[in-house]
Symmetry: C2
Subunit: 430 residues, 2 copies
Amino acid sequence: MPAPLVVQKFGGSSLADADRIRRVARRIARERAAGSDLVVVVSAMGDATDELLALAHGITDDPDSRELDMLLATGEHQSATLVSMALHALGLPAISLTGPQAGITTDGRYGKARIANIEPRRVQAEIEKGKVVIVAGFQGLSGDTAADAEITTLGRGGSDTTAVALAARLGADRCQIFTDVRGIYTADPRHVPDARQLPVIGYEEMLDLAGQGAQVMQARAVELGWVNGVVIEVLSSFEDAPGTLIKEDPFVEQRNKVRGLAHDRNVAKVTLVEVPDRPGVAHAVFAPLADGGINVDMIVQNVGHHGATDLSFTVPEVDLARAKRILEPVVRDLGFREMTTDSAVAKVSIVGAGIQNAPGYAARMFGALATAGVNIEMITTSEIRITCMIAEDEVETAVQALHAAFELARPDDVTDAADAGGPTASAVAS
Amino acid sequence: MPAPLVVQKFGGSSLADADRIRRVARRIARERAAGSDLVVVVSAMGDATDELLALAHGITDDPDSRELDMLLATGEHQSATLVSMALHALGLPAISLTGPQAGITTDGRYGKARIANIEPRRVQAEIEKGKVVIVAGFQGLSGDTAADAEITTLGRGGSDTTAVALAARLGADRCQIFTDVRGIYTADPRHVPDARQLPVIGYEEMLDLAGQGAQVMQARAVELGWVNGVVIEVLSSFEDAPGTLIKEDPFVEQRNKVRGLAHDRNVAKVTLVEVPDRPGVAHAVFAPLADGGINVDMIVQNVGHHGATDLSFTVPEVDLARAKRILEPVVRDLGFREMTTDSAVAKVSIVGAGIQNAPGYAARMFGALATAGVNIEMITTSEIRITCMIAEDEVETAVQALHAAFELARPDDVTDAADAGGPTASAVAS
């Protein structure tokens, strides 16, 4: 019987300095001693990515996206070599590979590339030589030939996607995401003291939480795990404690309950005032944003004061300046009266399978926020989620009020206490 | 007529921070505005390479050489992207390429790879697109296929070699090495206040100076320039001033004069005490050092006190620990009495074409050192050089005494003052 294959991913805070890197190496060595073959995906050390971004912005306000990708990719190259050296120091054969060396190719969109393919020959060959393979996360190669090969990065948190994609392609037995929290919680424990860790959460619920600001895992990684049936375990790299499993939850339809909260401060609101009422306006506004790679999230059209309509939507706060630059000529051409923006806003969401079929939840959410004195600016919903936009400085008040209103500190009726892996075990966010 | 092609190389101190990188970009832009096509080779920013080495040594005392190369190469990747961004900010089309992307392949020896080939297709294609091409120095790709491709580095100062090799391969019209000094001097100006800058120096003299510790350029780069007839200009990146040309000097044989001094503190002496007098001993000692890639320089065999012989030689100080590890079993097997080492030593050299044919120079050198109270431990000579090993803390005294004894502060009889490019213009060191 071949050895089980485990993919482990370690985030930047787990690799912030030499001591932590050595600790990560010891953990890898323990797993190896237990008989597993290992592929380890690493992020850049600590704040390395932010420091590289600061370097680039010290040179120019608007760094070229191709050059920026090449710059940022070095962060993961560095941490991969250091983890490999730390394993050598423990007497463990290991080799670091860049994303390109690991055979990861992408669609070539700088800063937000998607993995197109993984050619695992080299990774498998190194495993067969008995080596622990350390792969630089967050990156891959675009281009068909060596002559036009370019380094591309997968966007923030992209190392999660690297890990899940490698686990899927290699048919790994486990995919472990080591992070600086113990797992997935009913709300961010920094804001809600009685937030509870969940033993299991379904892919779909996790996806909505991640998409709405829960920072534990990149949403695309969850999606990729879902599509490929990779069971993902989120756990702490600092303590030996059970984490949270993200996996298919066949009983999700039978539940009817809020599983957790998410919030996102990295959001800005754009309002186009007095939209002319004619066909094609929405396309004229949103197509250039999409071309610019800017994700628009909540979209609300309000009746304005002067007979015309106002169009509001959210974009990631980091993209706001660029969104304004893209929209300025559009606003002029289409004859809007003006464009206003507000980045002092945030989103709070409740997530749970079945929410859509139980309208009482929306009323309870709005009521809890009103009682707490939190004003709601915009509302959107999905199958399993309700999101409200509020003022950024009211996030903490809002999530505490919602955590209490939906009794999230209480273990689930059926499972949590006794049966961690049980069918109705719960969903959630950080 | 095609535009002239210029290869420029900027060292780490010229790229130490955002301001300096922007200054380098403005200098490149000036050259570009003058109508040249440009390939720019960059080193890592400031102390980046030392910081990466420190990171590695924070993890393990003995980092794997393959992983170390991959780690160190990121320093030049980073600075290349930043210079490219700075050029974009000036409105100049530019693209950064890693050594592998620039088609540079090596013989695969980690930490001291030699360039095996340059396939210039991509560089030429980018030049034809009107771009300034920024190449990460100090590195290349080994391995025949994408599957076993490995990043290898060319050793300290390897970016000089990258620049000269690219200039040779591309048939560049000029090859400029920008550094933190104005050019090549008769001695290190930090130690000898009246050291004089030379307008021209021959390849051979420069090679001996670089090999003996003058740090302005990597010796291999000079050698490569010599073999390929690349005229190299060494000049300051901080001021607009004429530099020193390194080129073929057809009148070198007619000279008979010391051209300059070099010194090297990065050296350690190894003595094997009481060598058994039988054939094969030297091979048994030096072969494993060569296999370990350790350069042995001065070799002296002294008559010992007990009828047996002592064998002394020098190795680079950074390789001393490794040399000792390699030699310990050899010393045991061959029956030496003991091995002693001393790293508080240094080399001082006088360099000048024709020295060998004029024995008076050796006597004058030894006399000047004796008068200055500097003890000589070992002596070696080449065609155009005499090197003495002395105590490290006497370097300054020694170079000042030699600079005065050989009247190096005085311009050459024939040329310097009037004809900077003239045939007998002089040689020298930093």
